[in-house]
């Protein structure tokens, strides 16, 4: 199951820390710990796949950031990004972490937040799509 932020159903999958977007938006800003519920069609040979961006303006303020990818509360990986721009993350998930009856909770936590100078609102990164792929 793969969630496109442009999908009309995307909001249903959001658990927390993803900004509500308008219908048709290709991406959404996140806060510090964006979490989504995503159903695994199978538990075997699945990878977590995430397409996201680190905005260069934000990056100039925060500097390198560390993202932690979690599946059902278990840390799948922790990666330090030293450049801004579009990123792709993909990594196999141990089958025993997943179930097919209910959605798994996928979270990404970012260590440093960007603070918008105009209004002081804090943002994490820009999420485009996230889900499980074979």
């Amino acid at each position: 199951m793969f969630i496109e932020m442009s999908s009309p159903d995307a909001s249903w999958h959001i658990v927390k820390d993803v900004e509500p977007g308008a219908t048709g938006d290709q991406w959404r800003w996140t806060k510090q710990n964006p979490s989504l519920k995503i159903l695994a069609v199978t538990t075997q040979n699945l990878k977590l796949s995430v397409d996201f961006s680190l905005w260069d303006v934000a990056f100039r303020q925060t500097g390198p950031v560390e993202l932690t990818f979690l599946v059902n509360g278990k840390t799948l990986d922790k990666i330090r990004y030293t450049t801004p721009g579009q990123k792709h993350f993909e990594k196999p998930i141990p089958p025993e972490w997943l179930t097919t009856d209910v959605e798994s909770i996928v979270s990404i936590s970012i260590d440093k937040l960007y603070t918008a100078p105009e209004d002081g609102v804090k943002f994490g990164f820009i999420l485009s799509r996230i889900g499980f792929v074979r």
Partner: protein, 737 residues
């Protein structure tokens, strides 16, 4: 206006036909009754007889408008021709003037309220679902149809058959008006009883106490049957009192008929049988007269009205008392677990303490679905009526007809006892007439809808408006029902979008009375519960076969093996998703010659041998020692392991393995399996949908409040379903592709 005329004709034609039959019968019996009693008992007895006649016609598939018209004209004509329509008895002494006014005032206000509500389109939950749902099916089929997927179809339906008579001419509202006619009859019977015992004020006050009660008002103006049961119970009581005074053998005929009709109307009214027979036996014994003959005569007559319902169930669903007594009469149509869960639920209704009951059934009415009015808080004072003979008789009947309330604490289950309590309460104040008068008026005022609003619970079940526009069909029937019932709108989705002849599965109760489709409601039959189990397996991990119990032993020749339950579970059933027999590393292929058995629930044993992870054999009752699942190979088979795949749900159960050796001797092989777990690796949603299709179900309706309803919405693709209709974000209709 034509619709209103049809409704009025349907209801009045049914009532007049019933009354005519009763009048003819009473004339033949030459009973010494007062005039008004003759009229009222004629309706009650005629209703019983007409219901029995329609039973016979329904069994012969002859329930057609022409047949009923001919029957009605014949009966009504004969009643007039023979003069049976003219009562022969004496008049009661005139009612005291002030009681006449009290009765007229209270009665007329509430009659307007009730009549208009009864005339309005039927919107009661159970009326739309099964009281009239089954009636609509019978009307289409011109008689009974074998119903195995809705246990309500197995209840006795004596009143529903009168509804059927009215329905054919005036549809749903005509049926509700027939029920209302029982409420009218009951009120007048109570009034007549008061006059007969020499306390007309008690009769008036008792009748007002009952007639104005909110739960009686709403129940009596919809297509339910509780008020009819109350009317039958009170008529039976009344006739027994007359018999006690006069001992006329002919009186046993209407007594026997009403005793049987009580059961034919509602199972819970079976208490009429021991009550009537016990009453007659006791009085005869006390008078040192023959006991056996009058009791036997009454019982035999009662049986004429009871037996057809028992036989119908026995023939069609293997259980004369279906949907109850399933342990005694095991059958594939209603699970024991359903019956036990149902009993448990009906005994509590979500009450936190039984001490809530008095306040609930008198004032609040929001948990126990209805209330009788604050006046009934004085019920303990009615015990003072025990000083009088009439009071003792009333209390005896109240206790007996109130017994079913212990099994179902819904307020309406007190309705059959309410006439007796009302009269006992009035009798208590018989000597303080002005107080009785004030109580009657105060009760009537306190039970008027606008006044009730000030004290009852906001969701209390009651009438709260006079929908005259809907009653007169100035407001379209569909629009009125649509405003009142979410389920009606969802049912209309089905009507619009599902092809004729297709069955639809629904987790919740729909409005079958307004549908031509067979709607399988998740809890209403064994088959439906199995379908629910299949649908829930993909979305509840605990239902999935993740637990493997392996019996491994030295290779041997066996003709049969059986897995036996050895534990008595507190609150779980036993289930087996798959039972596999191994020879070395290989599974022994299943052959057509294998004979499979299970106890209990032998009908589903195949589901433990179908290689489907979403189906399972279940005991459908709490696990207990002695339950087994068995496979007979038909010949000696070499094997060294048996694997039982089951879900986590069976954690309280324990099993052992037994084998039948080639010499035909059963012996224990292993008392304890080795347990391993195997997580589900694939999504089972589509597999579940395929199982539904295999069972002839291509459509399902999911409501917002159903468990995990959003799963169907979000993952329709994974289920292999397509949403083909939605109503107001409250219900979705899916087609299994």
């Amino acid at each position: 206006m034509r619709a209103v005329l049809a409704i009025l004709f349907g209801a009045s034609f049914t009532v007049v036909t019933a009354w005519s039959i009763g009048a003819i019968l009473l004339r033949k019996l030459s009973l010494a009754l007062y005039r008004v009693e003759e009229r009222l008992f004629a309706f009650m007895l005629g209703s019983a007889c007409l219901s029995a006649i329609i039973f016979a016609l329904a069994a012969l598939k002859l329930v057609r408008r022409g047949v009923l018209l001919a029957l009605g004209i014949l009966v009504i004509g004969y009643a007039f021709y023979s003069g049976a329509h003219r009562p022969k008895g004496h008049e009661f002494p005139a009612l005291p003037r002030r009681w006449k006014w009290v009765f007229a005032a209270a009665f007329s206000f509430f009659t307007v309220l009730y009549f208009i509500n009864a005339l309005a389109p039927e919107v009661s939950p159970d009326g739309m679902a099964y009281h009239l749902g089954e009636v609509a099916k019978y009307a289409r089929a011109h008689g009974f149809v074998r119903i195995t997927t809705n246990l309500y179809g197995n209840l006795s339906q004596g009143i529903e058959l009168l509804f059927l008579h009215a329905f054919l001419f005036g549809k749903h509202s005509a049926a509700a008006l027939v029920h209302y006619s029982f409420l009218l009859c009951l009120a007048f019977l109570m009034l007549a009883y008061g006059r007969r015992i020499g306390h007309p004020g008690v009769g008036v006050a008792g009748a007002v106490f009952l007639y104005a009660s909110p739960v009686v008002g709403i129940d009596g103006t919809i297509a339910y049957n509780d008020v009819a049961v109350a009317a039958i119970a009170f008529a039976l009581f009344y006739l027994l009192q007359i018999w006690d005074q006069e001992r006329g053998a002919n009186l046993l005929v209407p007594i026997g008929i009403l005793t049987g009709f009580a059961f034919a109307t509602k199972y819970t009214a079976f208490v009429a049988v021991p009550y009537a027979l016990g009453f007659i036996a006791w009085k005869q014994w006390r008078a040192r007269q023959a006991v056996f003959r009058p009791v036997l005569a009454t019982a035999a007559l009662a049986l004429v009205f009871i037996a057809p319902w028992l036989l119908k169930n026995w023939i069609w669903v293997d259980n004369p008392f279906s949907p109850f007594a399933n342990r005694l009469f095991p059958n594939p149509y209603v699970h024991v677990s359903f019956e036990e869960d149902y009993r448990r639920m009906e005994q509590t209704y979500g009450l936190t303490s039984r001490w809530q009951i008095p306040w609930q059934v008198t004032v609040k009415g929001d948990i126990l679905a209805g209330f009788f009015g604050p006046l009934f808080l004085l019920t303990p004072l009615a015990l003072l009526a025990l000083r009088q003979r009439a009071g003792r008789q009333l209390w005896l009947a109240a206790l007996i007809f109130g017994l079913p309330f212990y099994a179902n604490v819904g307020a309406r289950f007190l309705i059959p006892a309410a006439p007796f309590v009302s009269l006992a309460l009035a009798l208590t104040f018989a000597n303080v007439e002005s107080l009785l008068l004030v109580l009657a008026l105060a009760h009537a005022i306190s039970c008027w809808p606008r006044v009730e609003t000030r004290y009852c619970g906001s969701t209390a079940w009651r009438l709260y408006e006079i929908p005259y526009k809907a009653a007169l069909r100035i407001e379209a029937e569909q629009a009125f029902i649509s405003r009142r019932s979410v389920q009606y709108n969802e049912t209309q989705l089905i009507e619009r979008l599902v092809p004729s002849g297709e069955r639809v599965f629904s987790f919740g109760q729909m409005t079958d009375a307004y549908s031509r489709h067979e709607i399988l409601v998740s809890f209403q039959a064994a088959f439906n519960q199995v379908v629910t189990d299949i649908l829930w397996t993909p979305i509840f991990n605990s239902f999935q076969p993740t637990r493997l119990l392996t019996f491994r032993f030295s290779p041997r020749q066996l003709r049969a093996v059986r897995v036996v339950q050895t534990e008595r579970a507190r609150d779980v059933q036993w289930g087996v998703s798959e039972l596999r027999v191994l020879d070395g590393a290989n599974e022994v292929p299943r052959l057509p010659g294998w004979r499979l058995r299970a106890h209990p629930n032998p009908w589903d044993v195949q589901m433990a041998f179908d290689n489907s992870p979403v189906t399972r054999w279940r005991s459908w009752q709490l696990a207990e020692p002695g339950m087994f699942i068995q496979v007979d190979f038909g010949q000696a088979q070499e094997l060294d392991a048996v694997v039982v795949e089951c879900s986590d749900e069976g954690y309280q159960t324990k099993i052992k393995l037994e084998g039948l050796d080639p010499q035909g001797k059963w012996a224990s092989i292993l008392n304890q399996p080795v347990e391993t777990s195997r997580p589900t690796r694939v999504n089972l949603r589509r597999a579940a949908s395929e199982e539904l299709k295999a069972r002839g179900i291509h459509y399902i309706l999911v409501e917002k409040n159903d468990f995990r309803s959003e799963d169907f919405q979000v993952y329709a693709g994974l289920w292999g379903m397509k949403c083909i209709g939605e109503w107001n974000s409250a219900g979705w209709l899916y087609h299994i592709e």
